[in-house]
């Protein structure tokens, strides 16, 4: 299998602090990868470097055969990289349907030239809202939503861009068991449709159920990568999580 995402020796520094230290990672098309690590291990920095929110100093990020370095975030989105934010960042002044219109107009339409008519756009918005179970609130504002609904909106907006690779950055933090299952099932359904997914998460039961492969970041370095059952028994990983 050829890799969809190829991260080669990526390094990111904030002043004297090395947030990412020569990270190597490959993700195959259609794969479900779990990315775990203690707080401050560089998971979100890695996501930001992949998505273009931050630019890596060394190494390179290749996606779908193209080098992404130096490319602005919106260009990466146009090429099929999509992410949800750790803390939901909806557009506050817009209804839920309008929130989804943004990626539809700015990414899908720009990429494919489809969705030209207002009817097509509305239909697609509704389809996406129905997928996450928010259709009834299409005309509501984000401030009317609960935490879990906000996470679902965040995912729906990321999916609206019709990505090849979706990065879900802690989209289950702070949710109850049934809510976690809700989001997890949603992600599994998306994967079945052919979207490659990187899941960043602290809830281990969810990560274990979801991931086909698990990568572990500690202090900006990848210390393990492989089948989830083996990785969680890796002594180095155990030490990083539980201490010695």
């Amino acid at each position: 299998m050829t890799a969809l995402l190829h991260i080669d020796n990526v390094t990111k520094r904030f002043g004297g602090f090395v947030a990412l230290d020569g990270v190597q990672l490959e993700v195959a098309a259609g794969e479900r990868l779990g990315l775990i690590g203690p707080n401050g291990s560089g998971k979100s920095t890695l996501v930001n470097c992949i998505c273009g929110t931050l630019q890596n100093e060394n190494g390179n990020v290749r996606f779908d055969g193209q080098v992404m370095d130096g490319m602005a975030a919106h260009e990466r989105t146009h090429r099929g990289l999509s992410r949800s934010f750790q803390l939901p960042r909806p557009f506050h002044s817009m209804t839920l349907a309008e929130n989804l219109r943004v990626p539809l107009l700015y990414t899908v339409q720009a990429r494919t030239g489809l969705l030209r008519s207002a009817g097509d756009l509305d239909a697609r918005c509704h389809e996406l809202l129905e997928m996450v179970g928010l259709l009834k609130k299409a005309r509501h504002m984000p401030r009317d939503l609960t935490q879990v609904e906000m996470r679902k909106l965040e995912l729906a907006r990321a999916v609206a861009a019709e990505p090849k690779l979706l990065i879900a950055d802690e989209s289950m933090a702070g949710l109850s068991h049934s809510e976690v299952d809700d989001i997890l099932n949603l992600l599994l359904r998306l994967n079945e449709r052919g979207i490659t997914i990187i899941l960043i998460e602290h809830i281990m039961s969810a990560v274990m159920r979801f991931s086909q492969r698990l990568a572990v970041l500690v202090s900006g370095k990848k210390i393990a990568d492989g089948a989830p059952e083996t990785v969680v028994r890796n002594p180095e990983v155990v030490r990083a999580y539980l201490g010695q």
């Binding site: 998505c51 273009g52 929110t53 602005a72 975030a73 919106h74 260009e75 989105t77 146009h78 999509s82 992410r83 934010f85 960042r89 909806p90 557009f91 506050h92 002044s93 817009m94 309008e98 219109r101 943004v102 990626p103 107009l105 700015y106 990414t107 720009a110 907006r157 990321a158 609206a160 861009a161």
Partner: protein, 321 residues
Amino acid sequence: MTRVNTVKFSLIALVVAVAVLLLAHWIHIDYLYFASYTILQFIVLATAWNILGGYCGYVNFGSAAFFALGAYASVFMHKAYPVPVPLLIVIGGIVSGIVGLGMGYLTLRLRGSFFAIATLALAVVLQTLIVNWDYVGGSRGAYIIRPENITILGLQINYIEYLFALMLLLAVIALVTARTIERSRLGLGFATIRDDELAAEACGVPTLRTKLIATAISGALMGMAGAPFPYYIGYLQPASAFGLEYAVNSIAMPMIGGTTSWVGPLVGAILLGGAQQYATVTISSAVNLLIVGLMLVAFVIIAPNGLVGLVQERLRGRRRS
């Protein structure tokens, strides 16, 4: 709500403009022309400010600089190569539009109050340049003797009436532009910048380019509003062209009217501009800024989203109950 398309809206706006023109011609009081010209000028300025400040959320304190640039472009052309006023409006628009684009580039990393301070600095820099540029009058100012009348298609038209008609047309152009943007893909892009730039980028919005479009359009409209100003006032000096009232009014008017829709700046400019003109005649022109201040305070307390916001909230409340 029925949807009125842009062509229909433009036609309606033009009809209203012609009606205003005929009404003014019928009443025919010179002072009324002067007063309404000022209000129209503020409609253009407030609408232009709102494209960047209201739609994108970037507060521009340098409106006076863009306005003055348009005015001084006219003074320059008047001395170098006199052309008709409509062409001056186009030139003023281009000059201010380019400066707007440049300002966008220079300040693109700044947000919130930092951006506002940078625009204020731009105004100071430009004013210093003009004061020291002798060709356009320097600190002495420049006189432009406007002709009494102008002949168009064999018709003799009073020059003030002519300028009034041009400003009326400009107000229509500004409002149509704002309304068209509001309902377009670009308008949605502007709103994403106002709400969350990081999320906008993640959704595929080219935020930098979108911002530059906003600063250029906003600057160009302000320059266009300033271009006929030297002809209207007759004597232009830096202190009046870069006056504080332009910067303050272009912010206060959309705030009072409401920043999320094209109606807001229109309502705000008519209300505030009207009150100022009334006060100028009855009390003193010095009381103008006081009026702005008091109205701003009042509106921040009563209607933080402006008059349009207040009406929308009422309507929404009624629909829910």
